[in-house]
Symmetry: C2
Subunit: 200 residues, 2 copies
DNA sequence: GTCTATAATATGATAGAC
DNA sequence: GTCTATCATATTATAGAC
């Protein structure tokens, strides 16, 4: 028997809620509208969730799950540019993933209003990425692959454009505008950045 | 006699509304709360503004006014690093300006929800900055100051970290955390970037 | 697990006295 | 220009029948 005992309705609620939260934020999404989108009455929804916040928390539960499961940075980082390219491939995949994009929208809307979400973003997303990249750059410096600098600052410089491009992708997609031009930015960033730091 | 006939109450409404919008967004701010903060009744507020949206539009009216009044980029850009440093000084001033910070918060909250605000951000902020920087980088390339590359892409790479640092400043300030460490990032960015592109 | 009914409250906005 | 009073509607949430 399946371990996942989550009912079909509950799954449908989370899915509908995610879409509405991504479009109108927490306050702009009413329990009524979620229920309506699912095709049930408001009261029936309370059979699956304690309240509106519980729905939101479930929707946000894997907002910061990251695919950057780095096993061995010490070794991987020695590959230099290839390591950075690999990181960006993952980042780009996440940026264009439909579900992740919805969660990213929710995060951006609530980031400045929700203290918990804000802390999680800084800890689980920003600091985690910075720590990973810092270590990698440190290794690359020790290996003589790149010029010497503050690894953590370099990590910030490397990460920031990725975030900015991801935000642009999201903004374009909201208005159904093509993202082909934006798509290449990620790879160009790796090339440009590596050209900037590499010791030839 | 003064040209500005805006009443004291109207000014107070805009000020209070700005603070509330910056904290809780458009939907999270009720007309009641604005009136309460001003110290008047809700109905009195409608004597100064047609409706809630009119208040919001007034608050947002100079959200994209920029201090980057570049007279002569063709000449200024030839100064190379000094031009970039000057740009960043302006950007940093805006990032730490109390009023501008509130407007930035509002923008970030509504950016993904309000199509008009989104378009204005892309046109008046992003594209304007990219156009300015692109032209500057183009001049620098022609002058042999920096390595050859796509000027517009380079502009993106230069602008993105500034935006990211500004966002971090804003997030830290919401939680009343010190921004001294962040403060130096802006100058370090200029140094790092110039080191990356300059022809020595 | 869903429905109808209902409660308590919040919201945007208006009417009319002062 | 501000007040009290009021309205229509929307909102979160609960009670109880089926």
């Amino acid at each position: 028997m399946p371990v996942n005992r989550t009912s079909k309705t509950k799954t449908a609620i989370v899915k509908s809620a995610m879409e509405l939260f991504a479009l109108h934020g927490y306050k702009g999404t009413s329990v009524r509208k979620i229920a309506s989108k699912v095709g049930i009455r408001e009261s029936a929804l309370y059979n699956h969730f304690k309240n509106k916040e519980a729905i939101f928390l479930t929707v946000c539960s894997d907002i910061f799950t990251t695919p950057f499961a780095q096993k061995n940075i010490q070794d991987d980082a020695k590959k230099g540019k290839k390591f950075l390219a690999g990181f960006v491939v993952q980042y780009k995949l996440v940026s264009f993933d439909t579900k992740k994009e919805k969660l990213f929208r929710i995060m951006m809307i609530e980031l400045l209003q929700d203290p918990v979400l804000r802390k999680n973003f800084l800890d689980e997303s920003h600091h985690r990425n910075i720590a990973l990249l810092s270590e990698a750059f440190f290794v690359m410096m020790q290996s003589g692959l790149i010029r010497s600098s503050d690894p953590m600052f370099m990590a910030n410089e490397f990460l920031a454009p990725l975030f900015y491009y991801r935000l642009q992708v999201t903004l374009f997609r909201i208005d159904s505008e093509p993202t082909t031009a934006l798509s290449t930015l990620f790879e160009k960033h790796v090339d440009f950045f590596w050209e900037s730091i590499a010791i030839h």
